[in-house]
Amino acid sequence: MYRYDEFDHQLVGDRVKQFRGQVERRVSGELTEDAFKPLRLMNGVYLQLHAYMLRVAIPYGTLSSKQLRMQAHIARKYDRGYGHFTTRQNIQFNWPALDKIPDLLEELATVEMHAIQTSGNCIRNVTSDQYAAAIDGEVEDPRIISEIIRQWSTFHPEFTYLPRKFKIAVTGHDNDRAAIKLHDIGIVIKQNELGDVGYEIHVGGGQGRTPFIAKKMADFVPKAQLLAYLEAVMRVYNMLGRRDNSYKARIKIMVHETGEVEMRRLIEAEFAKIDASQMLAVPQAEIDRISAYFASPEFETLPATSPALDAAKTQDADFARWVRANVVAHKQDGYAIVNISLKPIGGVPGDATDVQMEAVADLAERYSFDEIRVTHEQNLVLPHIRLDDLKTVYDALNAHELATANLGLISDTIACPGLDYCNLANARSIPLAQEISERFADLDRQYDIGELKIKISGCINACGHHHVGHIGILGVDKKGTEFYQISLGGSADENASIGTITGRAFTEETIVDAIETVVTTYTDMRQTDERFIDTFRRVGLDPFKERLYAE
């Protein structure tokens, strides 16, 4: 994992001191809430329905056990004993007192973490593949370039007051787990025919009220030119992106209105000017320095199978189910990737208590080379677990209600905070996610249904990614009553697609039944082993519509 050097420490320390001064000026009344707003936003402090909320950056979703323990400590000391993992691989604390946030940030800095640029119209925390360096078939660990992008984009003097927020995601694998086509910039690490590593760049994806799949802008940007290329995209956007209407200010709207061809021309013209100076070519020695932090753990040489694991699976059916649902093959023989579902039946998607976080941190330290990952689907990952240790890890997780065996299944929903916390929401998301998971609580039924991603947003801003849910649910408000609109066929992976709205919205009382109708329509029509998304792509919307709106 990346470790701060004196530069990183000093900059984060400077920022905490600066924010402390700003908070003091706010508390004393020298700054009005209006004047304070842009300053707090740059430091991840939002004003929600009931209180200030702090969003802490987890760069590319990687945490050490020490860092996760600090989140537990913060949850206990500054919050109500829990934290919420978000769809951007970050963690949010919902109840910190404003005047204590500088102390909180100071404690966070001791474990090399911060809340910089987790909100505001700037380049946000870079996200990536949660299986980085653990999955087979990766071109390169995406966290290396993610860390370089993190540094380049931190306190960027030119791109901190953009037309709108800006999100960059990176994957180094053909199976996209970082939803890169739904980001302002999506980067795919590629190897060309000469064996050189470079980047395929997608621009202008996004969700919100007008969802777009990103357009491929460049097939192969050589390594040394990536920052110049990114700076070109950013400058074109900063100069020509709309600022007259915040709903039309994301780069996706600019790409759509300008057109893909003209957009590419503008970017390439700017890229040529910037690249000519060679100013943004990162020295090889620095790339090597950062790469060294992501060197592969010292895996043991182990057989590809584990008799201990096989025996445990035979003895414990629940364990066997958990292995089947939540454990993924590792690139190294004798190891596995363990997903920890933060979607217990009836629970709040993405929430973890202080005690749970400490339990995961302990397991990571003992069994996973001290590493934890956060996924954009609001779960956690222990990336490097020996097959022989899986049962021990499972038992420890199970003791903390962290062994729900539902990864990628219908109860593994993404949900935004919704009307329970957020002042933008039209409807509640969390209670609906809870009701759905209770309706489908039977794990055998969930396995029978198979991979099915439900994503719930409490309003059109789409923080719950409903556009790319296999089943998307959007909370809408009609005359003060909460209604829910269903869309089908969305996907956030390498075959990204935007879902289609089925029609009239459902009430709070009928929405769960409607989801059930969608599911049974699928199970009635599927062919052998066909996933929901594949059935939908084969048969289209109509059969679902007929069943949903049949009198």
Binding site: D5, F7, D8, Q10, L11, D14, R15, K17, Q18, Q22, A35, P38, L39, M42, N121, I148, Q151, W152, S153, T154, F155, H156, P157, E158, F159, T160, Y161, L162, L227, R235, N238, M239, L240, R242, R243, D244, K273, S277, M279, L280, V282, P283, A285, E286, R289
Partner: protein, 173 residues
């Protein structure tokens, strides 16, 4: 534009030798800042002028576009200009940061670059990094406040239009 600001230039409060002129009035025989519209319309006669000339790059483009004036339009006139004033209509509109860097890094403009309009406390240091050397500040801002704000971040990660190289480069001098 009336002089309701104090000028902070190269880190010190100073008397502003410049005035803003509108598009109709005859220009004073002293340093003055005109609009891009006037600059383009009167470029021929302005070349014969003895006193220094500056231009203000407007952010809202006088209603012509939703974006504001394009810094590229200044390029043919840069040899006539001793100053470019970049208007920031609100602190949220950071378009001028890019204009400043383009002027410094691509057009090699060496005259005064100043920020006018609504500029926030913690934007000053970023503006300086983009090549802005003079700031039209609210009269309430003290030199101490300004100097402290400029020093709040001791380093940078990336290169821009100033002499900081950025940590990604500086680590391997």
């Amino acid at each position: 534009m009336p002089n309701e600001y104090q000028l902070m230039k190269d880190g010190a409060l100073c008397q502003d030798e410049w005035t803003y002129s509108d598009d109709e009035t005859a220009l004073p025989d002293a340093p003055t800042i005109i609009s891009l519209t006037r600059l383009k319309a009167e470029a021929e006669s302005l070349r014969a002028r003895n006193a220094k000339l500056g231009v203000q790059l407007l952010a809202d483009g006088n209603g012509k576009t939703k974006l504001g004036e394009d810094v590229a339009e200044l390029e043919p006139y840069l040899d006539m200009l001793s100053l470019v004033s970049i208007a920031f209509p609100t602190y949220r509109n950071g378009r001028g940061f890019s204009a400043a860097r383009v002027l410094r890094e691509q057009f090699n403009f060496e005259g005064e670059l100043r920020a006018s309009g609504e500029v926030l406390h913690d934007q000053w240091a970023m503006m300086r990094r983009c090549g802005i050397t003079a700031f039209e500040l609210a009269p309430s801002v003290s030199l101490e406040t300004f100097t402290a704000a400029m020093g709040e971040l001791s380093n940078a990660y990336q290169p821009a239009a100033d002499d900081q190289r950025g940590a990604l480069w500086q680590r391997h001098k």
